[in-house]
C-alpha cells in the first residue's frame, strides 16, 4: 500500500549504555501495521473469557458422598416422612434421613462431576484477531490510561527501547532502565498495591492481589532481560512471538502498558504481516480489516462530497391545520374561494333591493286608499257621502265591463259638483286597480298547472 515513509515513525528510547555506539540522532522505527489494526473490544472480551477457562483444574465432590449408608424408607404408617432412613440402631445416626439433598449428611443436589466441560475452543483467527486488537490498543495512550497505568512520564507510546535493554542482567539495572524510560511510576503503583485479597480466596491459595505493571516484550531468545525484570513486582515479560492475550488485555480490558525492545518491535511486522502482506510466521494470515476504513463520522458528514448533494435541513415541520367550516367561518371561506366575498355582497345588496322593491310596490298599491281618505276628510260630511257613492259606482262599473273611463261630469243628484282634479284622481286610481287586478288574473292563469283550464273557463262562463 504505502511506502515505509508513509508510516509514522516511532523513536527508540536510548539507554545510557547505548549512547556510545549510535550517532547523535536517535533511531526511529516505522510503526508496524499491527498497531493500526481495528480495535475490537467485543472480540477481545469474548476470546479472553473463553481462553481464561482453559487453565482451570477440575473440581467435584466425591461420587460416593452421601451414599455410604444403607438407608431405606420406612414407608407410610409410622408417623414419619417417607425419606429413606438409616437402618440399624444404637447410635444417633440410626433412623436419620439419608440420601436426599435436603437431608443432613445426604448427597448434594446434582453432585459436581469432573467431566464438566472445563476448556473452551476458540477459532484461531479469532484468537489472533484478539491479540492483534490488544496490541493495537496498547499503542493508544487514552486506552492505556483508562486501564489505569501510570504513563504520565512515558515519552512516547508505543514505548520502544533500544536493544541494550535485552542485555540487562541485574534487577537493579533493570529498575534503572525503567526509571530512565519513565515506566517506574507504573511499576511502583503495582508494588504499592500489594494487598491481601478480600474474600475466601485468601484461604484458597490466592492470598495476595496487586495491580499489573508494564509488560516488557523482547525479541531474542534467552535474553538476559527475562531474569532481570521478572522479580520486579508488577512487571511481566513476554517473547514477541509468544504474546499472550491474558497478558495483553488483563481481565478482558484493552490497553496494557507495553515496553517493546527494538528487536521485538521490528519483528512484529514479520510475525503478524501487514494489511496486504501475508504473515511469515502464521500460515496464510493477514491482518484483519476494519468495517469502516474511515471511522471519523463527523469528518465524513461535513466533507464536501457529502454536503454538496445534501438537502437543507427542514426546521419547520408543517402540521395540518384544524379544519374549520367554511360555511360558517368567512376567512376560511375566502381562503378557498376568493369570489365568496363578492358573491355574498352582491347577494345581500340584491336582497336589500328586492325587499325595497317589494315594499315600494306594496306602497304604491296601498297609496290610493290613504289619499282618498285624506281627501275624504277634507270634504264635509255631506260631500263625503256622495264621493263615497261615486267611488263605489266606478268600481262596480269597472268590474262588469272592460276598463271604460268615466266621463267626467257624471251627474250627481246633488247639485254639488266634484272638482275636476278629484275626479281625475279617482279615475286614475280606478284604472290602476283595474290594471293590477287584470295582470294578477293573467299570472294566475299562466302560473297555474291546471290543465283543464280551457274547460274551466267555459264552465265559469268567463272569457280570458
Amino acid at each position: 500500500m504505502s511506502a515505509a515513509a508513509a508510516r509514522p515513525l516511532v523513536t527508540v528510547q536510548s539507554l545510557e549504555s547505548d549512547m556510545a555506539t549510535d550517532g547523535a540522532a536517535a533511531n526511529s522505527v516505522p510503526l508496524p501495521d499491527v498497531m493500526r489494526a481495528a480495535i475490537r473490544p467485543d472480540i477481545v472480551t469474548f476470546v479472553h473469557g473463553q481462553i481464561s477457562k482453559n487453565a482451570r483444574q477440575p473440581y467435584a465432590v466425591s461420587n460416593r458422598a452421601g451414599h455410604q449408608t444403607s438407608a431405606e424408607s420406612w414407608g407410610t404408617g409410622r408417623a414419619v416422612s417417607r425419606i429413606p432412613r438409616v437402618a440399624g440402631g444404637g447410635t444417633h445416626r440410626a433412623g436419620q434421613g439419608a440420601f436426599g439433598n435436603m437431608c443432613r449428611g445426604g448427597r448434594m443436589f446434582a453432585p459436581t462431576k469432573i467431566w464438566r466441560r472445563w476448556h473452551r475452543q476458540v477459532n484461531v483467527t479469532q484468537k489472533r484477531h484478539a491479540v492483534v486488537s490488544a496490541i493495537a490498543a496498547s499503542a493508544v495512550p487514552s486506552l492505556v490510561l483508562a486501564r489505569g497505568h501510570k504513563i504520565e512520564e512515558v515519552p512516547e507510546l508505543p514505548l520502544v527501547v533500544s536493544d541494550a535493554a535485552e542485555a540487562v542482567e541485574k534487577t537493579s539495572a533493570a529498575l534503572k532502565v525503567l526509571k530512565q524510560i519513565g515506566a517506574h511510576p507504573d511499576a511502583e503503583k503495582a508494588k504499592d498495591s500489594q494487598a491481601i485479597r478480600a474474600g475466601k480466596g485468601k484461604a484458597r491459595n490466592r492470598r495476595y492481589v496487586s495491580r499489573k505493571g508494564p509488560l516488557v516484550v523482547y525479541g531474542n531468545e534467552g535474553a538476559k532481560l527475562v531474569k532481570a525484570f521478572r522479580n520486579i513486582p508488577g512487571v511481566e515479560i513476554a517473547h514477541v512471538s509468544r504474546l499472550n492475550l491474558l497478558k495483553l488485555a488483563p481481565g478482558g480490558h484493552l490497553g496494557r502498558f507495553v515496553i517493546w525492545t527494538k528487536y521485538a518491535f521490528e519483528k512484529l511486522d514479520s510475525i503478524y504481516g501487514t494489511f496486504d502482506k501475508v504473515s511469515e510466521k502464521k500460515n496464510g494470515y493477514v491482518l484483519p480489516r476494519a468495517k469502516m476504513i474511515n471511522a471519523d463520522l463527523a469528518r465524513i458528514i461535513n466533507s464536501d462530497e457529502v454536503q454538496s448533494v445534501v438537502k437543507p435541513i427542514k426546521k419547520e415541520v408543517k402540521k395540518a391545520p384544524l379544519k374549520k367550516n367554511p360555511l360558517k367561518n368567512l376567512n376560511v371561506m375566502l381562503k378557498l374561494n376568493p369570489y365568496a366575498k363578492a358573491a355574498k355582497r352582491m347577494a345581500l345588496l340584491a336582497e336589500a333591493q328586492r325587499v325595497k322593491a317589494k315594499q315600494d310596490k306594496l306602497d304604491k298599491k296601498r297609496k290610493p286608499i290613504t289619499k282618498i281618505i285624506t281627501y275624504f276628510c277634507c270634504l264635509s260630511m255631506h260631500l263625503r257621502f256622495w264621493v263615497y257613492l261615486y267611488f263605489i259606482g266606478s268600481l262596480l262599473l269597472v268590474s262588469q265591463s272592460r276598463a271604460s273611463l268615466m266621463q267626467p261630469g257624471w251627474k250627481l243628484p246633488c247639485p254639488v259638483y266634484l272638482s275636476h282634479s278629484v275626479i281625475c284622481l279617482l279615475q286614475e286610481e280606478a284604472s290602476a286597480i283595474n290594471s293590477a287586478s287584470k295582470s294578477w288574473y293573467k299570472t294566475m292563469i299562466s302560473d297555474s298547472d291546471y290543465t283543464e283550464f280551457e274547460n274551466f273557463t267555459k264552465w265559469l262562463g268567463a272569457s280570458q
Binding site: 461535513n302 464536501d304 454536503q307 437543507p312 395540518a320 391545520p321 379544519k323 374549520k324 367550516n325 367554511p326 360555511l327 376560511v332 371561506m333 381562503k335 378557498l336 374561494n337 376568493p338 369570489y339 365568496a340 363578492a342 358573491a343 299562466s446 302560473d447 298547472d449
Partner: protein
C-alpha cells in the same frame, strides 16, 4: 485555516457558514416564486368562481323560463333526466348478503350514513337496484353539493384522508385535469364533467351525521312511506338534516 480578525476560524466552520447562506438564499427565492404563482392562481380562481356563479344562475333561470313558456302554450316542459346522484347508506353492516356487500364496497359505502356522489348510467342504476334496501338516493341540487363539499369535504391524498383546507391540496391531485380549486371541484361534480370520475374518486366518502328529526322507517321503501330507495329531489331535504 483562515484568519478572521486575529482569531483562527476552522475551515469546516467557514464552509458550513457558506453552505447555510446558499441554502437560505435558495429558499428565499423559492418562497418568492411560490408567492407569485399563488397570487396569479388566486386571480384565476376568482374569475372561475364568478363564471360558475353566473352559469348556475343562468341554468336555473333557463329552466324556469322553459317551463313558463311551455305552460303558456299549453304544453309541458319535462325536466331532463338527472345526471348526478347522491347515495346515502342507511343500514348497518350486519347480516348482509355477500354480493350486496361487495356492491356496497364498490360504491365506497362501508359505513352507515356514508354518502357518495354517483354518475347515472345503466351500470350504476343496475348496481343501485341491487342495493336498494340498504341505501337511499336522489338528485342533489347546487346547495347540497356545495355544503357537502365545503363542510364535510375530505380528499384522498396519498391514500390518506386529508381535509380540504386549502386549494393547493386539490391542485396537487387534480391539477392535471384542470381542477385547481374547490369551486372547480363543485362544478365538476354538479355538471357531471369529463373528469367526474377522478374528481369523485378524489373525494373521500362523506361521513354524515345521523339525520336530525330521524328517518321515517328504514325497512321500507320510500314510496311505501319508508326511507330506502330513490327519493329523487327529496334527498336534498335529507342532506340538510344530515350535513
Amino acid at each position: 485555516m483562515a484568519e478572521k480578525g486575529g482569531q483562527i476560524v476552522p475551515e469546516s466552520v467557514l464552509k458550513k457558514q457558506k453552505r447555510t447562506e446558499e441554502w437560505a438564499l435558495a429558499k428565499k427565492q423559492e418562497v418568492a416564486a411560490l408567492k407569485e404563482k399563488k397570487s396569479a392562481n388566486r386571480k384565476l380562481i376568482y374569475n372561475r368562481a364568478k363564471e360558475y356563479a353566473k352559469e348556475y344562475a343562468a341554468q336555473e333561470r333557463e329552466l324556469i323560463q322553459l317551463k313558463r313558456e311551455a305552460r303558456l302554450k299549453g304544453g309541458f316542459y319535462v325536466n331532463p333526466e338527472a345526471k348526478l346522484l347522491f347515495i346515502i347508506r342507511i343500514r348497518g353492516i350486519n347480516a348482509m348478503h355477500p354480493t350486496t356487500k361487495k356492491i356496497m364496497q364498490l360504491l365506497r359505502l362501508r359505513q352507515i350514513f356514508n354518502g357518495v356522489f354517483l354518475k347515472v348510467n345503466t351500470a350504476t342504476v343496475n348496481m343501485l337496484h341491487r342495493v336498494e334496501p340498504y341505501v337511499t338516493f336522489g338528485y342533489p341540487n347546487l346547495k347540497s353539493v356545495r355544503e357537502l363539499i365545503y363542510k364535510r369535504g375530505f380528499g384522498k391524498v396519498n391514500k390518506q384522508r386529508i381535509a380540504l383546507t386549502d386549494n393547493s391540496i386539490i391542485e396537487q391531485t387534480l391539477g392535471k385535469h384542470g381542477i385547481i380549486c374547490i369551486e372547480d371541484l363543485i362544478h365538476e361534480i354538479l355538471t357531471v364533467g369529463p373528469h367526474f370520475k377522478e374528481a369523485n374518486n378524489f373525494i373521500w366518502p362523506f361521513q354524515l351525521s345521523a339525520p336530525l328529526g330521524g328517518l321515517e322507517r328504514k325497512r321500507n321503501h320510500y314510496v311505501e312511506g319508508g326511507d330506502a330507495g330513490n327519493r329523487e329531489d327529496y334527498i336534498n331535504e335529507l342532506i340538510r338534516r344530515m350535513n
